[in-house]
Protein backbone atom coordinates (compact mmCIF):
# COMPACT_ATOMS: atom_id res chain seq x y z
CA UNK A 1 0.00 0.00 0.00
CA UNK A 2 2.69 2.41 1.09
CA UNK A 3 4.76 1.47 -1.93
CA UNK A 4 1.88 2.38 -4.22
CA UNK A 5 1.40 5.74 -2.48
CA UNK A 6 5.09 6.49 -2.72
CA UNK A 7 5.03 5.55 -6.37
CA UNK A 8 2.03 7.76 -7.01
CA UNK A 9 3.71 10.64 -5.16
CA UNK A 10 6.77 10.18 -7.27
CA UNK A 11 4.79 10.24 -10.50
CA UNK A 12 2.88 13.30 -9.39
CA UNK A 13 6.13 15.03 -8.57
CA UNK A 14 7.58 14.27 -11.95
CA UNK A 15 4.43 15.53 -13.69
CA UNK A 16 4.53 18.73 -11.60
CA UNK A 17 8.17 19.23 -12.36
CA UNK A 18 7.76 18.74 -16.06
CA UNK A 19 4.73 21.08 -16.14
CA UNK A 20 6.69 23.74 -14.34
CA UNK A 21 9.56 23.23 -16.72
CA UNK A 22 7.27 23.57 -19.75
CA UNK A 23 5.54 26.62 -18.37
CA UNK A 24 8.86 28.21 -17.40
CA UNK A 25 10.21 27.55 -20.81
CA UNK A 26 7.12 28.91 -22.49
CA UNK A 27 7.27 32.02 -20.31
CA UNK A 28 10.92 32.54 -21.02
CA UNK A 29 10.38 32.02 -24.71
CA UNK A 30 7.32 34.22 -24.70
CA UNK A 31 8.80 37.32 -26.22
CA UNK A 32 6.06 37.89 -28.68
CA UNK A 33 3.80 39.83 -26.35
CA UNK A 34 5.71 42.67 -24.72
CA UNK A 35 5.53 43.26 -20.99
CA UNK A 36 4.63 46.70 -19.73
CA UNK A 37 7.58 47.78 -17.61
CA UNK A 38 6.76 50.93 -15.68
CA UNK A 39 9.89 51.02 -13.55
CA UNK A 40 12.63 51.82 -15.97
CA UNK A 41 16.00 50.84 -14.64
CA UNK A 42 19.02 52.63 -16.02
CA UNK A 43 20.96 49.47 -16.51
CA UNK A 44 18.18 48.13 -18.70
CA UNK A 45 19.57 48.26 -22.17
CA UNK A 46 17.10 49.23 -24.89
CA UNK A 47 16.13 45.96 -26.48
CA UNK A 48 16.37 46.00 -30.21
CA UNK A 49 13.61 44.10 -31.83
CA UNK A 50 14.92 41.59 -34.22
CA UNK A 51 12.89 41.49 -37.39
CA UNK A 52 12.60 37.85 -38.16
CA UNK A 53 10.30 36.81 -40.91
CA UNK A 54 7.92 34.10 -39.84
CA UNK A 55 8.29 30.79 -41.57
CA UNK A 56 5.80 30.47 -44.36
CA UNK A 57 5.02 27.21 -46.04
CA UNK A 58 5.08 27.06 -49.83
CA UNK A 59 1.66 27.15 -51.55
CA UNK A 60 -0.35 24.04 -50.89
CA UNK A 61 -1.23 23.75 -54.54
CA UNK A 62 2.40 22.73 -55.31
CA UNK A 63 1.94 19.41 -53.52
CA UNK A 64 -1.51 18.54 -54.75
CA UNK A 65 -1.86 15.26 -56.64
CA UNK A 66 -3.63 15.40 -59.97
CA UNK A 67 -6.30 12.87 -58.99
CA UNK A 68 -7.22 14.41 -55.66
CA UNK A 69 -10.83 14.70 -54.46
CA UNK A 70 -11.50 18.37 -55.10
CA UNK A 71 -14.78 18.26 -53.17
CA UNK A 72 -12.91 17.65 -49.93
CA UNK A 73 -10.30 20.33 -50.68
CA UNK A 74 -12.95 22.98 -51.31
CA UNK A 75 -16.07 21.68 -49.55
CA UNK A 76 -18.05 24.89 -49.20
CA UNK A 77 -18.42 28.44 -50.36
CA UNK A 78 -15.24 30.37 -49.72
CA UNK A 79 -13.27 33.34 -50.91
CA UNK A 80 -10.70 32.53 -53.55
CA UNK A 81 -7.34 31.54 -52.11
CA UNK A 82 -4.39 31.29 -54.51
CA UNK A 83 -2.48 28.72 -52.49
CA UNK A 84 -5.41 26.31 -52.46
CA UNK A 85 -6.59 26.59 -56.05
CA UNK A 86 -4.13 24.84 -58.36
CA UNK A 87 -5.21 26.79 -61.41
CA UNK A 88 -3.05 29.46 -63.09
CA UNK A 89 -5.87 32.01 -63.16
CA UNK A 90 -5.25 35.68 -63.74
CA UNK A 91 -7.50 38.67 -63.51
CA UNK A 92 -7.17 42.37 -64.13
CA UNK A 93 -6.82 44.94 -66.84
CA UNK A 94 -3.39 46.00 -67.91
CA UNK A 95 -2.18 48.30 -70.60
CA UNK A 96 0.71 47.91 -73.00
CA UNK A 97 0.34 44.18 -73.67
CA UNK A 98 1.37 43.26 -70.13
CA UNK A 99 -0.11 40.05 -68.76
CA UNK A 100 -3.03 40.39 -66.31
CA UNK A 101 -2.05 40.29 -62.62
CA UNK A 102 -1.50 36.76 -61.33
CA UNK A 103 -3.56 35.02 -58.69
CA UNK A 104 -1.17 35.82 -55.80
CA UNK A 105 -2.02 39.05 -54.06
CA UNK A 106 -4.92 39.67 -56.41
CA UNK A 107 -7.83 41.25 -54.58
CA UNK A 108 -10.06 41.20 -57.66
CA UNK A 109 -10.16 37.41 -57.58
CA UNK A 110 -11.17 37.53 -53.93
CA UNK A 111 -14.07 39.87 -54.66
CA UNK A 112 -15.89 37.91 -57.30
CA UNK A 113 -18.15 35.03 -56.25
CA UNK A 114 -16.72 31.67 -57.26
CA UNK A 115 -18.33 28.30 -57.82
CA UNK A 116 -15.35 26.16 -56.96
CA UNK A 117 -17.49 24.31 -54.41
CA UNK A 118 -20.04 23.34 -57.07
CA UNK A 119 -18.06 21.30 -59.56
CA UNK A 120 -20.07 18.70 -61.53
CA UNK A 121 -18.78 15.66 -59.53
CA UNK A 122 -19.68 17.40 -56.26
CA UNK A 123 -23.18 18.23 -57.49
CA UNK A 124 -23.58 14.62 -58.58
CA UNK A 125 -22.48 13.41 -55.17
CA UNK A 126 -24.82 15.75 -53.38
CA UNK A 127 -27.75 14.69 -55.58
CA UNK A 128 -26.96 11.04 -54.80
CA UNK A 129 -26.98 11.86 -51.10
CA UNK A 130 -30.30 13.68 -51.39
CA UNK A 131 -31.95 10.83 -53.29
CA UNK A 132 -32.77 8.91 -50.12
CA UNK A 133 -35.05 11.72 -49.00
CA UNK A 134 -37.02 11.82 -52.26
CA UNK A 135 -40.42 10.15 -52.71
CA UNK A 136 -41.82 8.97 -56.04
CA UNK A 137 -44.13 11.28 -57.94
CA UNK A 138 -47.76 10.45 -57.08
CA UNK A 139 -49.54 8.26 -59.60
CA UNK A 140 -52.34 9.83 -61.60
CA UNK A 141 -50.72 13.27 -61.63
CA UNK A 142 -48.45 12.78 -64.60
CA UNK A 143 -49.66 15.71 -66.67
CA UNK A 144 -50.60 19.30 -65.90
CA UNK A 145 -54.21 18.66 -66.96
CA UNK A 146 -54.53 15.88 -64.38
CA UNK A 147 -53.00 18.09 -61.69
CA UNK A 148 -55.44 20.87 -62.54
CA UNK A 149 -58.33 18.45 -62.47
CA UNK A 150 -57.54 17.07 -59.02
CA UNK A 151 -56.25 20.28 -57.49
CA UNK A 152 -58.39 23.12 -58.78
CA UNK A 153 -57.19 25.77 -56.35
CA UNK A 154 -53.77 27.21 -57.03
CA UNK A 155 -52.15 29.14 -54.18
CA UNK A 156 -49.00 31.14 -54.83
CA UNK A 157 -46.74 33.08 -52.49
CA UNK A 158 -43.15 34.26 -52.71
CA UNK A 159 -40.11 33.76 -50.52
CA UNK A 160 -37.32 36.31 -50.57
CA UNK A 161 -33.66 35.63 -50.00
CA UNK A 162 -31.54 38.61 -49.11
CA UNK A 163 -28.01 39.01 -47.88
CA UNK A 164 -29.08 40.53 -44.61
CA UNK A 165 -29.43 39.20 -41.09
CA UNK A 166 -33.21 39.31 -41.29
CA UNK A 167 -35.12 36.59 -43.10
CA UNK A 168 -38.35 38.56 -42.95
CA UNK A 169 -39.69 40.38 -45.94
CA UNK A 170 -43.04 42.15 -45.89
CA UNK A 171 -43.76 41.02 -49.45
CA UNK A 172 -43.68 37.35 -48.40
CA UNK A 173 -47.07 37.74 -46.70
CA UNK A 174 -48.98 38.15 -49.99
CA UNK A 175 -50.99 35.10 -51.01
CA UNK A 176 -52.55 34.74 -54.45
CA UNK A 177 -55.36 32.24 -54.89
CA UNK A 178 -56.50 31.22 -58.34
CA UNK A 179 -59.35 28.97 -59.38
CA UNK A 180 -61.11 28.20 -62.61
CA UNK A 181 -64.71 29.33 -62.40
CA UNK A 182 -65.88 26.33 -64.42
CA UNK A 183 -64.50 23.97 -61.74
CA UNK A 184 -67.01 25.30 -59.19
CA UNK A 185 -70.43 23.60 -59.13
CA UNK A 186 -72.51 26.69 -59.93
CA UNK A 187 -75.77 27.06 -61.88
CA UNK A 188 -76.50 29.98 -64.22
CA UNK A 189 -77.82 32.27 -61.51
CA UNK A 190 -75.02 31.43 -59.11
CA UNK A 191 -72.35 31.91 -61.75
CA UNK A 192 -73.75 35.29 -62.66
CA UNK A 193 -73.87 36.32 -59.02
CA UNK A 194 -70.35 35.00 -58.41
CA UNK A 195 -69.02 37.04 -61.30
CA UNK A 196 -70.82 40.13 -60.08
CA UNK A 197 -69.36 39.73 -56.57
CA UNK A 198 -65.76 39.12 -57.64
CA UNK A 199 -65.92 41.92 -60.22
CA UNK A 200 -62.66 42.47 -62.10
CA UNK A 201 -60.91 39.63 -60.26
CA UNK A 202 -62.43 37.36 -62.90
CA UNK A 203 -60.55 37.02 -66.16
CA UNK A 204 -62.92 36.20 -69.02
CA UNK A 205 -60.17 35.10 -71.35
CA UNK A 206 -59.01 32.10 -69.32
CA UNK A 207 -62.00 31.78 -66.97
CA UNK A 208 -59.85 32.24 -63.86
CA UNK A 209 -60.77 34.01 -60.64
CA UNK A 210 -57.79 35.54 -58.80
CA UNK A 211 -58.01 36.51 -55.14
CA UNK A 212 -55.01 38.39 -53.71
CA UNK A 213 -54.86 38.60 -49.91
CA UNK A 214 -52.29 40.95 -48.39
CA UNK A 215 -54.04 42.72 -45.55
CA UNK A 216 -52.83 40.49 -42.71
CA UNK A 217 -49.23 40.54 -41.45
CA UNK A 218 -48.59 36.80 -41.81
CA UNK A 219 -48.81 34.49 -44.78
CA UNK A 220 -50.89 31.90 -42.94
CA UNK A 221 -53.44 34.54 -41.98
CA UNK A 222 -53.62 35.79 -45.56
CA UNK A 223 -54.06 32.23 -46.84
CA UNK A 224 -56.87 31.63 -44.36
CA UNK A 225 -58.46 34.91 -45.35
CA UNK A 226 -58.28 34.08 -49.08
CA UNK A 227 -59.87 30.67 -48.45
CA UNK A 228 -62.53 32.33 -46.33
CA UNK A 229 -63.25 34.83 -49.10
CA UNK A 230 -63.63 32.05 -51.66
CA UNK A 231 -65.98 30.08 -49.39
CA UNK A 232 -68.03 33.14 -48.53
CA UNK A 233 -68.40 34.22 -52.15
CA UNK A 234 -69.30 30.69 -53.21
CA UNK A 235 -72.06 30.31 -50.62
CA UNK A 236 -73.32 33.82 -51.16
CA UNK A 237 -73.64 33.21 -54.88
CA UNK A 238 -75.66 30.05 -54.24
CA UNK A 239 -78.18 31.95 -52.13
CA UNK A 240 -81.23 33.52 -53.83
CA UNK A 241 -82.30 36.69 -52.11
CA UNK A 242 -85.76 38.20 -52.24
CA UNK A 243 -84.59 41.40 -53.90
CA UNK A 244 -83.05 39.49 -56.78
CA UNK A 245 -86.55 38.94 -58.19
CA UNK A 246 -86.73 42.64 -59.04
CA UNK A 247 -83.95 42.21 -61.60
CA UNK A 248 -85.22 43.81 -64.81
CA UNK A 249 -84.08 43.71 -68.40
CA UNK A 250 -81.56 46.54 -68.02
CA UNK A 251 -79.87 44.70 -65.12
CA UNK A 252 -79.13 41.70 -67.33
CA UNK A 253 -75.52 41.03 -68.09
CA UNK A 254 -76.52 39.84 -71.61
CA UNK A 255 -79.61 40.09 -73.78
CA UNK A 256 -81.90 37.11 -73.24
CA UNK A 257 -84.54 36.96 -75.91
CA UNK A 258 -86.71 34.51 -73.99
CA UNK A 259 -87.57 37.09 -71.34
CA UNK A 260 -87.43 40.11 -73.62
CA UNK A 261 -89.97 42.61 -74.86
CA UNK A 262 -89.31 41.44 -78.42
CA UNK A 263 -90.70 37.98 -77.68
CA UNK A 264 -93.91 39.30 -76.13
CA UNK A 265 -94.46 41.72 -79.05
CA UNK A 266 -94.18 39.06 -81.76
CA UNK A 267 -96.45 36.81 -79.68
CA UNK A 268 -99.03 39.58 -79.58
CA UNK A 269 -98.63 40.25 -83.35
CA UNK A 270 -99.06 36.60 -84.34
CA UNK A 271 -101.47 35.79 -81.55
CA UNK A 272 -99.77 32.53 -80.60
CA UNK A 273 -96.79 31.45 -78.48
CA UNK A 274 -93.30 31.99 -79.94
CA UNK A 275 -92.59 28.28 -80.28
CA UNK A 276 -95.38 27.93 -82.86
CA UNK A 277 -94.38 30.88 -85.01
CA UNK A 278 -92.53 29.87 -88.16
CA UNK A 279 -88.93 31.11 -88.33
CA UNK A 280 -89.15 32.58 -84.83
CA UNK A 281 -85.90 30.83 -83.80
CA UNK A 282 -83.99 32.51 -86.62
CA UNK A 283 -85.45 35.85 -85.60
CA UNK A 284 -84.57 35.29 -81.93
CA UNK A 285 -80.98 34.47 -82.80
CA UNK A 286 -80.70 37.56 -85.03
CA UNK A 287 -82.11 39.84 -82.33
CA UNK A 288 -79.83 38.28 -79.71
CA UNK A 289 -76.75 38.79 -81.94
CA UNK A 290 -77.78 42.38 -82.64
CA UNK A 291 -78.17 43.21 -78.97
CA UNK A 292 -75.21 41.27 -77.62
CA UNK A 293 -72.59 41.85 -80.32
CA UNK A 294 -73.68 45.37 -81.15
CA UNK A 295 -74.84 46.98 -84.36
CA UNK A 296 -72.71 46.28 -87.38
CA UNK A 297 -73.37 45.63 -91.02
CA UNK A 298 -73.57 41.90 -90.65
CA UNK A 299 -75.92 41.74 -87.63
CA UNK A 300 -78.18 44.42 -89.10
CA UNK A 301 -78.41 42.58 -92.41
CA UNK A 302 -79.18 39.32 -90.61
CA UNK A 303 -81.84 41.03 -88.56
CA UNK A 304 -83.49 42.46 -91.66
CA UNK A 305 -83.47 39.08 -93.39
CA UNK A 306 -84.94 37.26 -90.40
CA UNK A 307 -87.76 39.80 -90.02
CA UNK A 308 -88.65 39.45 -93.70
CA UNK A 309 -88.61 35.65 -93.42
CA UNK A 310 -90.80 35.62 -90.35
CA UNK A 311 -93.32 38.10 -91.75
CA UNK A 312 -93.13 36.25 -95.10
CA UNK A 313 -92.18 39.36 -97.03
CA UNK A 314 -90.26 39.15 -100.31
CA UNK A 315 -86.52 39.46 -100.03
CA UNK A 316 -84.87 42.65 -101.26
Amino acid sequence: MSAITRLRGKTLNTIKNSTALISNRSFSEETEFRVLNLRTVKSQAPVRRKINKPDVLPPRSNQMPVDQDWGSVWPGQRTFHPATVPLPVRQGYTEKNAPPPSKFGNAELMKIPNFLHLTPPVIKKQCEALKQFCTPWPKGLETDEKCNKHFEIEVASSNYCYSSPSIRDPLARIVTLQIKLSSLPLDDHARDKFRRIVGDRYNEENDIVTIVADRCPLRQQNYDYAMYLLTAVFHESLRFEEWEKTKSEIDMEFYDWNVSKSKSSIESIFGKPAEEIVKADVYSKAVGALMNEGENEYTLAKYGESVREMLQLPAL
Binding site: E32, K53, P54, V56, Q77, R78, T79, H81, P82, A83, G92, Y93, P101, F104, G105, N106, A107, E108, M110, K111, I112, P113, C161, Y162, S163, S164, P165, S166, I167, D169, L171
Partner: protein, 164 residues
Protein backbone atom coordinates in the same frame (compact mmCIF):
# COMPACT_ATOMS: atom_id res chain seq x y z
CA UNK B 1 -18.31 81.33 -44.39
CA UNK B 2 -18.82 85.07 -44.06
CA UNK B 3 -21.93 84.91 -46.23
CA UNK B 4 -23.37 82.07 -44.22
CA UNK B 5 -22.89 83.97 -40.97
CA UNK B 6 -24.57 87.00 -42.45
CA UNK B 7 -27.43 84.87 -43.63
CA UNK B 8 -27.85 83.32 -40.21
CA UNK B 9 -27.93 86.74 -38.61
CA UNK B 10 -30.45 87.98 -41.12
CA UNK B 11 -32.66 84.96 -40.64
CA UNK B 12 -32.24 85.09 -36.88
CA UNK B 13 -33.94 88.47 -36.76
CA UNK B 14 -37.00 87.18 -38.48
CA UNK B 15 -37.65 83.62 -37.36
CA UNK B 16 -38.23 82.21 -33.88
CA UNK B 17 -35.10 81.01 -32.12
CA UNK B 18 -33.83 77.44 -31.80
CA UNK B 19 -34.42 76.67 -35.44
CA UNK B 20 -31.70 75.60 -37.76
CA UNK B 21 -32.37 76.71 -41.26
CA UNK B 22 -29.11 76.22 -43.13
CA UNK B 23 -28.23 72.69 -44.00
CA UNK B 24 -24.77 71.93 -45.27
CA UNK B 25 -23.39 68.73 -46.74
CA UNK B 26 -19.93 67.80 -47.89
CA UNK B 27 -19.03 68.51 -51.48
CA UNK B 28 -19.61 65.80 -54.04
CA UNK B 29 -16.08 66.06 -55.54
CA UNK B 30 -17.01 63.83 -58.38
CA UNK B 31 -13.92 64.57 -60.45
CA UNK B 32 -11.54 64.12 -57.52
CA UNK B 33 -12.77 61.37 -55.22
CA UNK B 34 -11.28 57.93 -55.66
CA UNK B 35 -8.52 59.25 -57.96
CA UNK B 36 -4.84 59.78 -57.25
CA UNK B 37 -2.52 62.48 -58.47
CA UNK B 38 0.79 61.85 -60.10
CA UNK B 39 3.66 62.69 -57.76
CA UNK B 40 6.76 64.50 -59.03
CA UNK B 41 9.02 61.53 -58.36
CA UNK B 42 6.50 59.01 -59.64
CA UNK B 43 6.98 56.88 -56.56
CA UNK B 44 3.50 56.77 -55.07
CA UNK B 45 2.43 53.13 -54.92
CA UNK B 46 -1.04 52.15 -56.09
CA UNK B 47 -2.83 48.85 -55.76
CA UNK B 48 -4.97 47.58 -58.60
CA UNK B 49 -8.05 48.89 -56.85
CA UNK B 50 -6.53 52.36 -56.43
CA UNK B 51 -5.16 52.44 -59.96
CA UNK B 52 -8.63 52.22 -61.47
CA UNK B 53 -10.92 55.19 -61.02
CA UNK B 54 -14.48 54.75 -59.69
CA UNK B 55 -16.03 54.81 -63.14
CA UNK B 56 -14.18 51.57 -63.93
CA UNK B 57 -16.20 49.69 -61.32
CA UNK B 58 -17.94 46.79 -63.09
CA UNK B 59 -15.57 47.16 -66.04
CA UNK B 60 -12.04 46.76 -64.73
CA UNK B 61 -12.64 46.26 -61.04
CA UNK B 62 -15.57 45.17 -58.91
CA UNK B 63 -17.16 46.38 -55.71
CA UNK B 64 -15.67 46.09 -52.26
CA UNK B 65 -19.06 45.45 -50.70
CA UNK B 66 -21.23 42.67 -52.04
CA UNK B 67 -24.78 42.59 -50.79
CA UNK B 68 -28.36 42.70 -52.00
CA UNK B 69 -29.41 45.67 -49.91
CA UNK B 70 -29.05 48.07 -52.80
CA UNK B 71 -31.13 46.17 -55.32
CA UNK B 72 -34.48 47.74 -56.07
CA UNK B 73 -36.68 47.21 -53.03
CA UNK B 74 -33.86 45.57 -51.06
CA UNK B 75 -34.16 45.70 -47.30
CA UNK B 76 -32.10 47.83 -44.91
CA UNK B 77 -29.68 49.57 -47.31
CA UNK B 78 -28.63 52.21 -44.80
CA UNK B 79 -28.01 49.73 -42.01
CA UNK B 80 -25.84 47.61 -44.29
CA UNK B 81 -23.80 50.64 -45.38
CA UNK B 82 -23.23 51.75 -41.80
CA UNK B 83 -22.32 48.24 -40.71
CA UNK B 84 -19.86 47.91 -43.57
CA UNK B 85 -18.25 51.18 -42.58
CA UNK B 86 -18.01 49.98 -38.99
CA UNK B 87 -16.49 46.65 -40.04
CA UNK B 88 -13.89 48.46 -42.15
CA UNK B 89 -12.93 50.77 -39.30
CA UNK B 90 -12.77 47.95 -36.79
CA UNK B 91 -10.72 45.65 -39.00
CA UNK B 92 -8.24 48.36 -40.01
CA UNK B 93 -7.77 49.25 -36.38
CA UNK B 94 -7.50 45.68 -35.16
CA UNK B 95 -5.11 44.58 -37.90
CA UNK B 96 -3.09 47.71 -37.56
CA UNK B 97 -1.04 48.47 -40.68
CA UNK B 98 -1.37 44.86 -41.78
CA UNK B 99 -3.96 45.09 -44.51
CA UNK B 100 -2.38 45.90 -47.82
CA UNK B 101 -5.57 45.66 -49.83
CA UNK B 102 -9.05 47.05 -49.38
CA UNK B 103 -11.36 45.21 -47.03
CA UNK B 104 -13.86 43.22 -49.03
CA UNK B 105 -17.18 42.53 -47.36
CA UNK B 106 -19.38 39.92 -48.93
CA UNK B 107 -22.75 39.03 -47.46
CA UNK B 108 -24.58 35.78 -48.07
CA UNK B 109 -27.87 35.50 -46.23
CA UNK B 110 -26.88 36.36 -42.68
CA UNK B 111 -23.24 35.39 -43.10
CA UNK B 112 -20.66 38.15 -43.45
CA UNK B 113 -17.41 37.25 -45.16
CA UNK B 114 -14.55 39.67 -44.72
CA UNK B 115 -11.76 39.14 -47.18
CA UNK B 116 -8.51 40.91 -47.74
CA UNK B 117 -4.77 40.63 -48.19
CA UNK B 118 -2.43 41.09 -45.23
CA UNK B 119 1.30 41.25 -44.80
CA UNK B 120 3.22 38.34 -43.26
CA UNK B 121 4.47 40.64 -40.53
CA UNK B 122 3.18 38.85 -37.46
CA UNK B 123 3.52 35.29 -36.33
CA UNK B 124 0.89 32.72 -37.12
CA UNK B 125 -0.10 32.58 -33.47
CA UNK B 126 -0.92 36.27 -33.31
CA UNK B 127 -2.73 36.01 -36.60
CA UNK B 128 -4.95 33.20 -35.32
CA UNK B 129 -5.68 35.23 -32.23
CA UNK B 130 -6.62 38.29 -34.25
CA UNK B 131 -8.83 36.24 -36.58
CA UNK B 132 -10.71 34.76 -33.65
CA UNK B 133 -10.90 38.10 -31.89
CA UNK B 134 -12.27 39.89 -34.94
CA UNK B 135 -14.77 37.18 -35.76
CA UNK B 136 -15.97 36.88 -32.18
CA UNK B 137 -16.43 40.58 -31.52
CA UNK B 138 -17.95 41.41 -34.88
CA UNK B 139 -20.39 38.52 -34.70
CA UNK B 140 -21.39 39.67 -31.23
CA UNK B 141 -22.00 43.22 -32.36
CA UNK B 142 -23.64 42.48 -35.68
CA UNK B 143 -25.53 39.43 -34.38
CA UNK B 144 -24.64 37.25 -37.33
CA UNK B 145 -21.80 34.85 -38.15
CA UNK B 146 -18.67 36.57 -39.42
CA UNK B 147 -15.88 34.84 -41.29
CA UNK B 148 -12.47 36.24 -42.00
CA UNK B 149 -10.90 34.88 -45.17
CA UNK B 150 -7.44 36.26 -45.54
CA UNK B 151 -4.61 35.89 -47.95
CA UNK B 152 -1.06 36.78 -46.99
CA UNK B 153 1.71 38.25 -49.05
CA UNK B 154 5.37 38.27 -48.08
CA UNK B 155 5.88 41.90 -48.88
CA UNK B 156 3.58 44.85 -49.26
CA UNK B 157 5.12 45.56 -52.64
CA UNK B 158 3.51 42.33 -53.89
CA UNK B 159 0.15 43.99 -54.26
CA UNK B 160 1.44 47.18 -55.84
CA UNK B 161 0.10 47.52 -59.35
CA UNK B 162 1.94 50.67 -60.42
CA UNK B 163 3.69 53.78 -59.17
CA UNK B 164 2.53 57.23 -60.09
Amino acid sequence: MFHIRNAIQMLGTRVPQNQRLIHTTSIYQKSQSGRYRITPKRDFPLTYEMANAPHYIMQRKSWNSWNTSNVLGGPRPSETAVEDMFIRKFVTGTWHSLFVSEIIIKRQHNLIRIAGIIRQAISARKMYFLIGYTEELLSFWLQCPVKLELQTVADKRDVIFKYI
